[in-house]
């Protein structure tokens, strides 16, 4: 075969690798790849002996014989009173809001018979436009978490709401009252705050979250004065520099940024050019993977880099305290400065949340000198720096100045900076009341804990980054009788009404003008309060102040070992730790699941003698932690990167004890990064689970020449693409492909297909969670994932190219490719997987006997086998998250992506019914039937639809010259095709 199929020698492109193990062809890697089945594929969950299995089988046959004649009695329970517009089994969608780190996004929640099952983005919302992040999607599972806080605790002991109401009357609200809230972006909570502060003027209000944008706020205050938010318009920029800002990944709270960036990068019949992205960063982030040029440096060195760029662009005076240059850095700086200057009006510099105020201010100064596309508005959240605020609060708690503390959500005992000693300070507060979703560390330490209502259970509101307000409406009564923050405040401090609905509605009825009831209903329906977006400001940058601040900055040492902290893409700051979907969702770059690790560069690992899975002790900021190491390509040297949110001591059965808590070495002084850390091997090891080598698409057992590397992901530069637009298809030359079965003509009706634009995909994982939520995909746990048994129907492959020190990376989502000549179908002995006339590779679960031949024969490795009944041991309340339109699969059954066949069926039924009632022909509008991954994608990288309709987006994408079918040389004719990735490097840096 290898003689016939030629990988075009002129077009091979770079060599791709997924892990350092693969790059160096380590024995562990060969073992994993060469084995036909993953190790332990035949083992059972509890290592039961063969005899036990036979005994169990005999018993279950016996039971089957006895029970077969029994028909289970089922009941139908209709409502007593009819509900207007309610149709059993038909989902409704309601608009609401989901808030993270003080930023609301507009969501649409699908509810079946009053039971919310899925979250999507609200297409009418200006910063969500229908897309949603993985974290937003997964929040629905957190609501159904059976380990959530269910009752009032007094001093950690179960109590009651009645006792709490009585007990809270003795709260002395006069002196020493403090309220600690999460970052507040809610107008009705602000109104409630004003009510409380009006009644008790000596009370203090503090806002803190462990992941916040305090640095950005301080930076814009330095440049423009307080209360200004900057909104970079990524779609209007041609050259973008990111200063340690992972805006395509975890650093951006909204999907808007990804959408705008992808728009600027799209190449199609309308656009022939694309933006160019430079990044200076330490950790290899998703934004770094997308970048055309990347300069790695420690987080502490970014400030110096920003100043040097300021000098080069003439916005800062020369002679600042900057670090020396390497050749590479000089070349990068010069080319970057030239490129930025050449693109006046379309050049943009953005700084990330880990960077101090001065870096943000310098970015603003550069932007105003370049006429960068940035829109300014009044800030939607309060002004005080959250880190300084919690430090001051903790000091007052310790000194006894705070006698009553009300904590509105969050988990400060776990997440507050270590030097505030928040836990100890809390013990000194006479009365502390904690409102929280979980029985977390703070709940157990506070004198009172009351259960909080989840976002989907209570009334509220929240503003997006541009100020647009969305009213948050409940989808379901609180499952465990929780209260929202506004309800608790109203109850404690005697507001006129203590009902969330009345508080929120009254607030808005007083804010609306004209027909108030209609305005309220429209706002609820649309998920947007009309005209609530903040007015645009035109602030002038105070160059003198920024220059003075830059001149006063001390020089970064440049030497020494650095430690820096990142919100986890899976657990965020720890609040998703008990969420199985997120725990099992691979980190976008490292592909670690169920845990975190200290990430170090290959050079640092060599210098220090570390290898993967070594436990190391990190001393920094006056504390120490012990954590396993993972060597990651592309990281800056002499530094270690840590993900927040793991190592929860108290949260529930999913997240407790998973990973390592890194908060003990995070302090107010070293909140995001700190120098002077020491890292020592302890001599112990720990198995980190990572999926980076799983599901490879090359046949390793054939005697293939060593240089034979199938082009799986394909990319080129913009220049190369312009010279040869069909480069992707031409990467493989193969003889005419003929099938021995004869070709089926798929030329009638609807023919479903998918196109994925690798140029837009950022690898953010939103599609993985959307698919998991839509298709009832189970969670299997760390041990099973390490055996290669994870169940995700769509996986995100990440490939590196280049050297281990300075690699580039590409992400590629892979789902079932729905081959027209599907190799899985030929080998199924029971015809459990067969083809539909619409080109779908159907899977009939109830026919499957679990031979797993299909998975072995699948060249794309997209089939997943239920080694166990993963749904067996879940609680009743967790079952409520299931989509009733999709079968819950049993043990012993194969499954895979269906192109959301339930949506196709429902859509077709509705279309045909409407057409038949109207006596018209069936007409499918493009976008009427969508897949869950497509809906979620913030970059609009996925298109799905009828490929026979030339006007459909998917057909248009497939017509593009970059379109290629993965492994087309196997003649499997996949319905999913990819648009090759393009990069736009600066010729001067080539």
């Amino acid at each position: 075969m290898s003689k016939l199929i030629q990988i075009n020698p002129t077009q091979t492109g770079p060599k791709y690798w997924r892990s350092l193990g693969e790059l160096y062809n380590k024995p562990e890697f060969r073992d994993w790849v060469d084995s036909e089945f993953a190790g332990g594929a035949a083992e059972t969950l509890d290592q039961g002996s063969r005899r036990n299995v036979l005994k169990l089988m005999a018993a279950s046959f016996g039971l089957a014989g006895l029970t077969a004649c029994r028909r289970p009695e089922e009941k139908i329970l209709p409502h007593s009173k009819g509900l207007e517009g309610f149709i059993p089994g038909k989902p409704d969608r309601y608009a609401s809001a989901y808030t993270l780190s003080g930023v609301a996004s507009g969501i649409l929640v699908e509810t079946y018979d009053g039971r919310p099952t899925k979250i999507d983005g609200n297409d009418k919302h200006p910063t969500s436009f229908g897309a949603s992040t993985a974290l937003t999607q997964a929040s629905i599972l957190s609501m159904y978490d059976p380990d959530r806080s269910k009752e009032v605790l007094k001093g950690g002991v179960p109590s009651s709401w009645k006792a709490f109401t009585e007990g809270s009357k003795s709260v002395n609200p006069g002196e020493g009252l403090a309220i600690l809230s999460e970052i507040n972006n809610s107008p009705s909570l602000t109104a409630m705050k004003q009510f409380v502060m009006g009644k008790y003027p000596n009370a203090r209000w503090v806002e803190y979250e462990p992941v916040n944008y305090g640095g950005a706020a301080a930076g814009s205050a330095l440049a423009f004065g307080a209360g200004v938010d900057a909104h970079p318009q990524f779609d209007k920029a041609k050259v973008i520099l990111s200063l340690d800002y992972d805006f395509l990944g975890i650093d951006s709270p909204t999907t808007l940024v990804t959408r705008q960036f992808a728009q600027g990068r799209r190449i199609d019949e309308h656009a022939e050019t694309m933006n160019r992205l430079y990044i200076a960063e330490g950790q290899f982030s998703l934004t770094g993977a997308m970048a055309d040029h990347r300069l790695r440096m420690k987080v502490s060195e970014v400030k110096s880099f920003a100043m040097q760029l300021g000098e080069a662009l003439g916005v800062l005076p020369a002679g600042l305290n900057v670090l020396g240059n390497t050749d590479k850095k000089t070349k990068f700086l010069n080319a970057l400065a030239k490129d930025l200057k050449a693109n006046q009006g379309a050049a943009l510099v953005v700084a990330g949340p880990r960077q101090p105020a001065v870096v943000h201010a310098i970015a603003h100064l550069i932007n105003s000198s370049l006429g960068a596309p940035v829109v300014f508005t009044k800030s939607a959240t309060g002004g005080e720096d959250p880190v300084a605020a919690i430090k001051a609060l903790a000091a007052d708690m310790s000194s006894g100045a705070v006698s009553t503390l009300v904590i509105l959500g969050g988990n400060p005992v776990f997440t507050a900076p270590a030097d505030t000693q928040f836990g100890a300070a809390l013990a000194k507060v006479k009365t502390s009341i904690h409102l929280g979703l979980e029985l977390d560390e703070t709940a157990k330490a506070a004198s009172w804990h009351v259960p909080q209502a989840h976002t989907l259970e209570c009334w509220g509101d929240g503003s997006a980054i541009d100020g647009t307000v969305t009213i948050q409406q409940p989808m379901i009564e609180p499952l465990y009788g929780g209260k929202s923050a506004i309800e608790l405040l109203a109850m404690l401090f005697g507001a006129p009404s203590a009902k969330g609905f009345e508080i929120v509605k009254n607030y808005w009825m007083s804010a609306f003008t004209g027909d108030k009831e209609a305005a309220w209903r429209t706002a609820l329906h649309d998920g947007v309060v009309a005209g609530s977006a903040s007015a645009e400001l035109k602030p002038g940058a105070d160059a003198g102040r920024v220059k003075a601040a830059a001149a006063a900055e001390p020089k970064a040492s440049g030497s020494g070992f650095e430690v820096s902290f990142y919100p986890s893409a899976t657990c965020y700051d720890g609040r998703y730790a008990n969420n199985g979907w997120m725990q099992e969702c691979p980190d976008p770059m490292t592909k670690i699941i169920w845990g975190n690790a200290a990430l170090v560069s290959p050079k640092t690992a060599r210098d220090k003698g570390f290898k993967d899975d070594d436990m190391v002790k990190i001393n920094a900021n006056g504390g120490s932690i012990t954590i396993p190491v993972m060597v990651q390509p592309g990281m800056a040297d002499n530094a270690v990167w840590l993900n927040l949110g793991y190592g929860r001591r108290s949260i529930g059965r999913v997240g407790e004890g998973v990973g390592v808590n890194v908060y003990p070495i995070r302090t107010t002084g070293g909140f995001w990064f700190a120098e002077g850390a020491t890292v020592e091997k302890t001599g112990e090891t720990f198995s980190i689970a990572t999926t980076q080598e799983y599901h490879r698409m090359e046949e390793p057992t054939l005697p293939i020449p060593t240089n034979f590397k199938r082009p799986i992901v394909r990319e080129a530069t913009l220049e190369e693409y312009k010279k040869n637009p069909k480069f992707a298809e031409e990467m493989v030359e193969h003889p005419p492909l003929n099938s021995i079965y004869g070709d089926w003509k798929y030329d009638k009706g609807f023919q479903w297909g998918m196109a994925i634009d690798l140029n837009a995909c950022t690898g953010c994982n939103a599609c993985i969670i959307a698919c998991q939520s839509e298709n009832n995909i189970p969670i299997v746990g760390k041990k099973e994932v390490m055996r290669g048994r994870e169940m995700h129907w769509i996986r995100m492959d990440r490939y590196y190219t280049g050297t281990e020190d300075d690699p580039q990376a590409v992400t590629q989502p892979v789902n079932c490719q729905q081959c027209e000549n599907a190799p899985c179908e030929n080998v199924c002995p029971v015809a459990a997987t067969v083809h539909s006339p619409e080109g779908l590779n159907d899977m009939a679960y109830n026919r499957c006997v679990g031979t797993r031949y299909c998975a072995n024969n699948c060249p794309y490795k997209v089939r997943r086998f239920n080694f166990f009944n993963w749904h067996k041991n879940i609680t009743e309340v967790e079952k409520m998250v299931h989509n009733p339109d999709v079968s819950v699969r049993m043990r012993g059954v194969m499954e895979k992506c269906t192109y959301c066949t339930q949506r196709i069926s429902q859509g077709k039924i509705q279309l045909k019914a409407d057409a038949r009632r109207a006596g018209k022909a069936v007409e499918l509008k493009d976008g009427y039937i969508t897949t869950a991954c497509q809906d979620a994608c913030p970059a609009e990288a996925i298109a799905f639809g009828n490929i026979l309709d030339p006007e459909s987006k998917v057909a248009k994408m497939k017509k593009q010259e970059r379109n290629y079918a993965m492994l087309a040389e196997l003649n499997v004719k996949p319905r999913t095709t990819y648009l090759a990735k393009l990069r736009n490097p600066n010729p001067e840096l080539a």
């Binding site: 059993p88 159907d842 339109d885 069926s905």
Partner: protein, 215 residues
């Protein structure tokens, strides 16, 4: 050494084997027959909490099926109506009847009447009433003459072979959509011909692939 078994033992062994084999086959056959949906499910007629007579309501009084099962043309489920629908009439009619006590109790307390489900498909099958009713498949095709049943029983096996037989040859069971709830309708000409006309007019093409019904 004399043989332990006589010559006839051979025959006994063969006969014995035959008997055991036949017994096993009969057992398997009996089991297959007894567990077939046609035997197991057809005729299922549980006692409902309220002795509601379809014969009286739909037959004698001629109420249309969709008066109560009003979601049948709009959704997958032909839902059992809320208690309120019963009370539309029974506030006046037989308002004191002992038999209607559970209905009145439900109406007053807000708790549902616990009806027993008769027509049950496996969880991996997604039947949609709307798709069938709009295309002109009558209620009677799957549910039988409910207007003649005092207590409803399952009339058809509802197994996959039975579904597929109609999906492969829908013509015999199609009628004009406005007649689907007219259970006693008799075609005035050849049903096949009428069915074929409807198939042509509405472009009816029932799925026979797996994903048509399984999701």
């Amino acid at each position: 050494m004399p043989a332990i078994f006589s010559r006839s033992a051979d025959l006994i062994l063969k006969l014995g084997g035959l008997v055991v084999g036949a017994g096993l086959m009969a057992g398997v056959g009996l089991y297959s027959y007894a567990s077939h949906p046609r035997v197991q499910d057809t005729g299922y007629q549980p006692e409902q909490p309220v002795p509601y007579s379809h014969k009286l309501h739909a037959g004698t009084m001629g109420m249309d099926c969709t008066y109560c099962h009003y979601t049948v043309t709009k959704a997958g489920f032909a839902a059992i109506p809320p208690t309120e629908v019963c009370m539309n009439c029974h506030k006046q009619v037989k308002a004191k009847s002992e038999k209607l006590a559970p209905v009145r109790a439900s109406y007053e307390t807000g708790k549902p009447v616990e009806w027993l489900k008769i027509h049950k498909l496996p969880d991996y099958v997604y039947f949609n009433h709307q798709a069938h009713v709009v295309s002109g498949v009558s209620c009677v095709s799957c549910h039988g003459r409910v207007d003649q049943m005092v207590e409803v029983r399952q009339h058809e096996p509802l197994n996959m072979a039975w579904c597929i037989s109609c999906h492969r040859n829908p013509a015999a069971r199609l009628r004009p959509a406005h007649l689907v709830t007219k259970l006693d309708w008799v075609p005035d000409r050849d049903a096949e011909v009428i069915g074929k006309e409807i198939i042509a007019a509405k472009n009816i093409n029932p799925p026979v692939n797996c994903s048509g019904c399984h999701r």
